[in-house]
């Protein structure tokens, strides 16, 4: 019998596959690495970094970011972003969970109509009504207020109830019926039975409701004209090439929590993405 060659076809295939994989993954990793390294650069301007990576590393950019706030008040941006994101997340989660539970659990006349209209509405790009929102906000003098931002995020949140509804659909209805027979009101059933059973989906909802305002740009840019009210996303876009490492440091600082969050949630990711496919 002929001895098997070392370079048989499956090995060549494997080698080729891994070369392509390494190439593709480098393409994904390189810009991120570049930005992270730039944030540890010594000088502030992009012109001072020779090539992709700085020669010497330092924490100067981070120090500047938080201490040199006369022109670019990053701590204040961070405070505003945190304020908007936390309150949007808290209120938004309550509304999403309530909507999803109600639509999953109850049969009522307009249920189908509600589901159909949210599905059709959510297919339209969210930017569509944005200019109108802007005009309405201007005319009612709600511009330049962090609360109006929260209001818009929270009001739009229940539209994305489908993942949560899918979760509630899996809870067997016998447990509810038993409680109802025992005389529990619907509100009691919701607080005493549903909520304790749905901790994972509540955490997931809270985090996604947090991540959206945390990294949104379009809405705050439109509604916050006052420099003191800028969120991080708005502030960072106002940094030019001479403030490049400040931008890099500010970006890394705000991206790290989100990236960590995504990896922690990666098992939800596929489900969330394939759902997003339906709702757009």
């Amino acid at each position: 019998m002929k001895k098997k060659k070392f370079w048989n076809s499956s090995r060549i295939d494997s080698l080729f596959t891994h070369i392509v994989l390494i190439a593709v993954c480098s393409v994904f990793a390189f810009p991120v690495l570049w930005l992270v390294m730039a944030s540890f650069s010594k000088s502030g301007s992009i012109y001072d970094i020779e090539g992709f990576f700085p020669d010497t590393l330092s924490l100067a950019s981070y120090k500047n970011l938080f201490l040199d706030t006369a022109m670019y008040d990053y701590p204040n941006w961070l405070k505003n972003t945190l304020f908007v994101a936390v309150f949007s997340s808290l209120i938004g989660t309550v509304l999403v969970i309530l909507t999803a539970y109600t639509i999953s659990r109850f049969e009522f006349k307009s249920r189908k109509l509600l589901m159909k209209s949210t599905l059709v509405l959510s297919m339209f790009p969210s930017f569509m009504g944005m200019t109108a929102v802007y005009l309405i906000m201007v005319n009612f003098n709600l511009i330049n207020q962090l609360w109006s931002l929260i209001l818009i995020y929270v009001a739009g949140a229940p539209m994305g109830y489908l993942v949560q509804k899918g979760y509630f659909d899996t809870i067997s209805s016998t447990i509810y019926e038993a409680a109802r027979v025992d005389g529990a009101t619907n509100f009691k059933v919701f607080t005493k039975i549903t909520l304790p059973l749905s901790k994972p989906i509540i955490v997931y909802t809270a985090l996604t409701q947090f991540a959206w305002p945390w990294s949104d740009f379009i809405l705050p840019n439109m509604l916050l004209k006052n420099k003191n009210l800028w969120t991080v996303a708005v502030g960072l876009t106002h940094l030019d090439e001479t403030q490049f490492t400040r931008f890099a440091a500010g970006s890394v600082f705000i991206a790290v929590p989100i990236v960590v969050l995504y990896f922690a949630l990666s098992k939800f990711l596929v489900a969330g993405v394939s759902d997003g496919a339906v709702k757009g």
Partner: protein, 434 residues
Amino acid sequence: MEHPKKRPHLSFPVKASMCIMGTGQLLQKQWVKGLLYLACFAAYIIYLAVMGVEDMIGFFTLGTVKGDEWLGIEGDDSIMMLLRGLLAFVITIFFIGIHKSNINDVRESDRKIKAGVALPGFKRACEIFFDKKFYIAALAVPVLGVMIFNILPIVFMILIAFTNYGGDIVPPELVDWIGFDNFKKILALSEIKDTFFKILGWNIAWAVISTLVNYFGGLGLALLLNKKCVRKKAFWRAFPILAYAVPGFITLLGFKFMFSYGGPINYYITLHGGSAIGFLDIDAGMKAKIIGVLVNAWISVPTSMLLATGILSNINHDLYDAASIDGASKWKQFIKITLPFVVFSTTPTLITSFVNNFNNFGIFYFLRGGLYNKGYFLASDTDLLINWLYNLSIDNNYYGIGAAISLIIFLITSTFSMITYVRSNAYKKEDTYR
């Protein structure tokens, strides 16, 4: 024989409540409920008298008195009048809803009285409502929010498209209804027409190209990761997930810096004796477009990879075994089994992704925002319709034309959305699973 459709006899309280909300309840000695309904009724009548009727008329006239600061005349604010007119109609619809519930309530009580059942007190009635109609209590706030911040803006935008609001005509000038003139301008007025068709052409090309690139990029990556020889899949998958997790505006601004004059790419070009290239400059043309497609791929391929991974894991592996036994090559298996399966199950996604790319505001806003090319009316050669809409309405106050364009975009995308809606069986399946 009695006529089956004969209306039930209306008792006096029911008739009373039909005329004046709440009086029927009062006649039935439902004091609190009756007074509340009566208060609602009074509030609506007072609202109509004080401003409601005026607002509704204002909706049609959009103001008749032009303001003049010199003469001290406080003019009409047309847009405010439009909004308040809209509000008046919404309030009226709500009132009709409350009125209906009022009649139902009286009828219900009437039936109970006739059957000799004691009516519950107000507090008890509230509790019963909250329990029996829990879904109304739970959904009231979400539905109201969506109506105010999603539906109302869309209606408002549609209305604005039929006015001459914008340009020179902003308060204190009076705005007027002008029918389809904005659409005529877009399709006929030379400067705007040329820009519109140029942008529309590029927009469609962009949406097709970037959808295909992202889709097949993601599918290819998923297939690569799915191969048997690739171990530590979680490790390799972490890289695209990393790209997916970085907030979009950071990615886009980062790439803008990378391709800027001082950026690393131009550094190496000048180092080797070349002169710096303005990749994203006003005259960049094709370069900027290609960079846009590639950057968009960097952002979107991970999403489609995750999607394709999920779908690939659902393929029945017996099919491959059977194919191997029949002697089909790997390539043939891919063409005959994998590809049809994946394409079939991702068709709705493909269309959604097309719509999203069609309206991809972020890419060119961040990479090349604020540039206006020659031969374009307030737009650059990479701007999509949605960017043009933003330039027109937010940056330059051309609200009427902007709204008309957003209606056109709405028509184009809703056609595709409707196709998705009809084709996706996610909605139809919904009840078979339950």
